[in-house]
Amino acid sequence: MLYFLQQLINGLTLGAMYGLIAIGYSMVYGIIGMINFAHGDIYMIGAFVTVIAFTTLGIVGITWMPLALMVVLLCAMLFTAAYGWTVERIAYRPLRGSFRLAPLISAIGMSIFLQNYVQVAQGANVKPLAPIITGGIQLGSDGSFSVGISYVQIMVIVLTTVLMAAFSFLIAKTPLGRAQRACEQDLKMAGLCGVNVDRTISTTFVLGAALAAVAGLMASLYYGVVDFFIGFLAGVKAFTAAVLGGIGSIPGAMLGGLLLGLIESFWSGYFSIEYKDVAAFGILVVVLIFLPTGLLGKPEIEKV
């Protein structure tokens, strides 16, 4: 039971991070129908900004943790959002309206470029981050095994919950969110309604990147190391999560992320850590066989 609880906590933490990244994939797919392969690298940039920002704050002497965390969070979101915006502007927008594979290839190029850029600018070595948030709460113990939740895990889960609530509100209730959904459902009609579609698409990239940045911040605090290649696997996993939840659906992305995190965590906890990715992808395949549009994907039943 204790062991189960521990896997659950680990899985939720992992899943929250996957989910935050997955939203970016899902939103971009929803609005312009492309897989933004560079999104994982945007997350990696978020992690790097986090490490750099914490180090800088340490040098400047701001060490009061809540303040430092807030500053770093804002920095990471802003810088990373700027990257997301720029990528869309220079690599995707000029290709809009050309053949379908063009932006996809451009995205792969962008992904490679961002990795190399960070590798050159920051070095190829793993960059460690001195533990910022340490300690945790012990939840129980039976002598040989003790279960606990670290403060970092609490931060990940709380921050994700708050962000998701704010984000859902933004999409469901504000004019910006309505415009976003309109573009997602019918880009041309949204334009005919007077929505500036180019700006809405930019906003989508900015929001997705900002959420990925938060995941990057969490990962660098959780694992304590970053390198230029972390975006690849995280990106593939988050993309899987988006497909599992139903690509195009924002709640689906979050759900897919959580499930993927839980599957990985329980599989590694009870079976073997080597095959956790196989298990995750295996379940994805099974879900897609029975639900081709993913768990919360939209089967097109409406008459339009």
């Binding site: 415009a179 459902q185 949204a190 334009g191 005919l192 929505v195 008459k303 339009v304």
Partner: protein, 240 residues
């Protein structure tokens, strides 16, 4: 108010409009009829800048809007109820109307929404229903209502009677005349239902394979034997 001067529009290699000149004056209802594939919808879409004209000029109150982005054109006072209705299927009726009010920044939302509900009371009963689950006729009303929410100076309607029961068709045409008379709104109407559409039109154009082949007063075209033969056959009069 609106002038199209020798407008050409192409989709890749297909030239859908081959030099169309059309004028719409303040306060008029202008109807465009033509058979399938004549380029009627293309004409309305070109006015809205999506796709943009390959050649020629489009002037709105003397201002050249040929190269203006679609969303800016809406802000200049042209709104469209397009072919296929294009209701936002996963949004409620209310949200669809809110999307219509984007150009006016939602400032007169309550007032405008009441006007739409007076015109189409059915929409009020369905206010929270998802657009995609409305019946075809209800979607058409929503489509026109959404276009009206933009507070346009010029309203473009693409086949508002398509696939709709005769009684509703009459209701929709009545609504068009009413908006035109009472609010003085200028209307450019595309129709297959030529009899009704010509009857309410001040002026009309006949479009055939991307060219204007005839123009004149609505009644005039209605009486024209060629028009009758080509577009008013098959008991369409009885439908009215």
């Amino acid at each position: 108010m609106l002038q199209l001067e020798d407008v050409h529009t192409r989709y890749g290699n297909i030239e859908a409009l081959k030099g169309v000149s059309v004028e719409v004056r303040q306060g008029e209802i202008v109807t465009i009829i033509g058979s399938n594939g004549a380029g009627k919808s293309t004409l309305l879409m070109t006015i809205c800048g999506s796709p943009q004209a390959a050649a020629g000029r489009i002037l709105l109150n003397g201002e050249d809007i040929t190269r203006t982005a679609p969303y800016d054109i809406v802000h200049l006072g042209i709104s469209q109820a397009p072919e296929g209705r294009r209701i936002f299927a996963r949004m409620s009726v209310l949200e669809n109307l809110q999307m219509g009010s984007v150009p006016s920044g939602g400032r007169h939302f309550e007032e405008d929404v009441q006007k739409v509900f007076t015109l189409f009371p059915r929409l009020k009963e369905r206010i929270n229903q998802r657009g995609g689950t409305l019946s075809g006729g209800e979607q058409q009303m929503l489509c026109i209502g959404r276009a009206l929410m933009a507070r346009p100076r010029l309203l473009l309607l693409d086949e508002p009677s398509l696939g709709i029961a005769p009684i509703l068709v009459r209701q929709i045409f009545n609504a068009i005349v009413e908006i035109n008379k009472e609010q003085g709104l200028t209307i450019l109407l595309v129709e297959q239902n030529a009899f009704q559409a010509l009857k309410i039109a001040h002026r009309a154009y006949v479009l055939s394979t991307g060219r204007v082949v005839m123009e004149g007063a609505g009644r005039e075209l209605l009486a024209n034997p060629e028009v009758r033969a080509a577009y008013l056959e098959g008991g369409q009069k009885e439908v009215a």
